[in-house]
């Protein structure tokens, strides 16, 4: 039982990170119809920037600052990178009307970011001491890391806040309008360029925060975003590319699969079962778990 609770919390918290990144993929996909393949490395930037502002690299000990500082730092760097990617990778590809242009350009930005971090920062792995403590707390006799609980709570908050923003505010609704019909939305006075730029900033900030959240349970390094980025991309597809809550379900399924496989079969098969599961869902529900086919009458 204790073991089960422990695995459950680990799996769900891992899954919520996938869900957050999947949401980051979704926002920009819905407004620009392009996939931002730099997302994994934006998560990495969140981890690295947060680490640098919070932990002393030489001693590995906290610098003694409030956690607000790395948090704000991650938001600022994320929004700059999001705006940069839109301006210099996505917009030029749109102008060239090249189908693969923006996929390649965003992939390239991601690789450049990773190389920059390797060259200018470090090629090593670092332990990021959790701001909420690294000793397990007892829940139902199980030892659960406070950081895992923080991840779950923060991720749910972010996804719910985002969905509420999208359905309850004028700006949020215009993201949906642009995603459904860019030309008609522009006839209402909505500037598509502005909405797309805004969505890239929002998306990069979410990816950065995901990096800050996951760093204490993994390690901080220049390569920390690579595999997570690919898995979250799969989750964004199974969640239904435009459904925020679908990604939570998809993420949790993947997280649980991995944790339970690692525990009961072998950690070597961890990635395999997760991907088999994802492939099954894609075959059974091509529009994703919550994806809906839109009825459009003429």
């Amino acid at each position: 039982m204790a073991d089960f609770v422990q695995l459950l919390v680990s799996g769900v918290s891992q899954g919520m990170i996938y869900a957050l990144l999947a949401v980051a993929y979704n926002i920009t996909f819905s407004t620009s119809r392009t996939i931002n393949f730099a997302i994994g490395n934006l998560l990495m930037m969140g981890g690295v920037v947060g680490f640098s502002l919070y932990i002393d690299m030489k001693t590995g000990q906290p610098l003694g600052r409030s956690f607000i500082i790395p948090f704000m730092g991650v938001l600022v760097v994320g929004s700059i990178l999001g705006a940069f990617i839109n301006k210099f990778a996505v917009e030029p590809s749109r102008r060239m009307k090249s189908e693969y242009g923006s996929a390649l350009a965003t992939l390239a930005v991601g690789i450049v970011l990773r190389n920059l971090v390797e060259r200018r920062w470090s090629t090593d792995d670092y332990k990021f001491l959790s701001p909420v403590g690294d000793s397990p707390i007892r829940i139902f006799g199980a030892g659960v890391y406070p950081q895992e609980v923080l991840i779950i709570a923060a991720s749910i908050f972010i996804v719910v806040a985002l969905e509420t923003f999208k359905s309850k505010t004028v700006l949020g609704r215009s993201i949906q309008a642009i995603s459904e019909d860019r030309v008609t939305a522009s006839l209402m006075g909505i500037n598509p360029g502005f909405i797309v730029g805004f969505s890239f900033i929002l998306s990069a900030m979410i990816a950065g925060v995901a990096g800050l959240l996951v760093a204490p349970i993994t390690l901080v390094s220049a390569t920390m975003g690579t595999v997570i980025g690919i898995k979250a991309y799969a989750v964004s597809i199974i969640g239904g590319l435009e459904s925020g809550y679908g990604t939570i379900v998809g993420g949790i399924i993947l997280g649980l699969c991995e944790v339970f496989t690692a525990r009961f079969i072998s950690s070597g098969y961890k990635d395999t079962t997760g991907f088999v599961f994802l492939i099954l869902i894609i075959l059974l529900r091509p529009n994703g778990i919550f994806g809906r086919k839109v009825v459009r009458k003429v």
């Binding site: 004028v170 215009s174 949906q176 006075g189 909505i190 500037n191 009825v295």
Partner: protein
């Protein structure tokens, strides 16, 4: 007096196909002007060029004397041009209410949400059926209801000129009558000038102050609604059906 909307020698190409040849037309304050012509005459192209979805190869377009032809679509909307596109194009995954709020995007930015709510109330008064269905996805409305929504959504920005592209397309005779009634109401309110594109030329001319006949991308004739209704050439070419 400067017209609300003025096109001066506007020519438009699709690749090397010429769709409009030196089209000039005017819509004055409070006027309902219709643009009629057979399939492929260039009516939709004209409206799309006004709202900058298309850009003219040559010629100029003015709203109250200010140039529109160099702007982007959202900027043209910002100047006060509302365009109800061919095929209605409601946001099918948004609710009826959210569609109206999108129509009020500019109003919300300029005057805040209160103004949007007030404008929405007016829309529901004019179209009670939208009020009953305000929480419903717009994609699940009937064709006639979608057309009402598309018109109501365009009026949310309190436009200076309203462009209507075949609002009766695909509707049953009863719904067509309804749409013309609503257009009459909007005309009588005199809050916006209207440029109406219609296949049902007979009906359109009946409620229009003036009209232009477009033929293969060029203006063929113009006159008041009454004059064109009485014109034997026009009768023969465009007024076959008296729906």
């Amino acid at each position: 007096m400067t017209p609300v909307l003025e096109l001066k020698n506007v020519s438009v190409n699709y690749g090397n196909i010429t769709a409009l040849r030196s089209v000039s037309l005017q819509v004055n304050a409070g006027e309902l002007v219709s643009l009629i012509g057979s399939n492929g005459a260039g009516k939709t192209t004209t409206l799309k060029t006004v709202s900058s979805i298309l850009h003219p190869k040559s010629g100029e377009i003015f709203l109250q004397g200010k140039p529109l032809h160099l702007l982007q679509p959202h900027e043209v909307a910002g100047m006060g041009v509302a365009h109800v596109p061919e095929g209605r194009k409601v946001f099918s995954t948004l609710s009826v209410e959210d569609n109206l709020i999108m129509g009020g995007y500019l109003l919300a930015r300029r005057e805040g949400l209160k103004a949007v709510t007030a404008e929405m109330k007016k829309a529901y008064q004019l179209f009670p059926r939208l009020d009953e269905r305000k929480k419903q996805w717009a994609g699940t409305l009937s064709g006639g209801e979608q057309q009402m929504l598309a018109i109501a959504r365009a009026m949310m920005m309190r436009p200076k000129v309203l462009l209507l592209d075949e609002p009766t397309m695909g509707l049953s005779p009863v719904r067509i009558n309804e749409v013309f009634q609503y257009i009459q109401v909007l005309k009588d309110a005199k809050t916006t000038a209207i440029l109406l594109v219609e296949q049902l030329a007979y009906r359109a001319l009946g409620i229009s102050d003036r009209a232009y006949v477009l033929d293969q991308g060029a203006i063929k004739t113009t006159g008041t609604g009454k004059e064109l209704l009485a014109n034997p050439d026009i009768k023969k070419a465009y007024l076959g059906s008296k729906t």
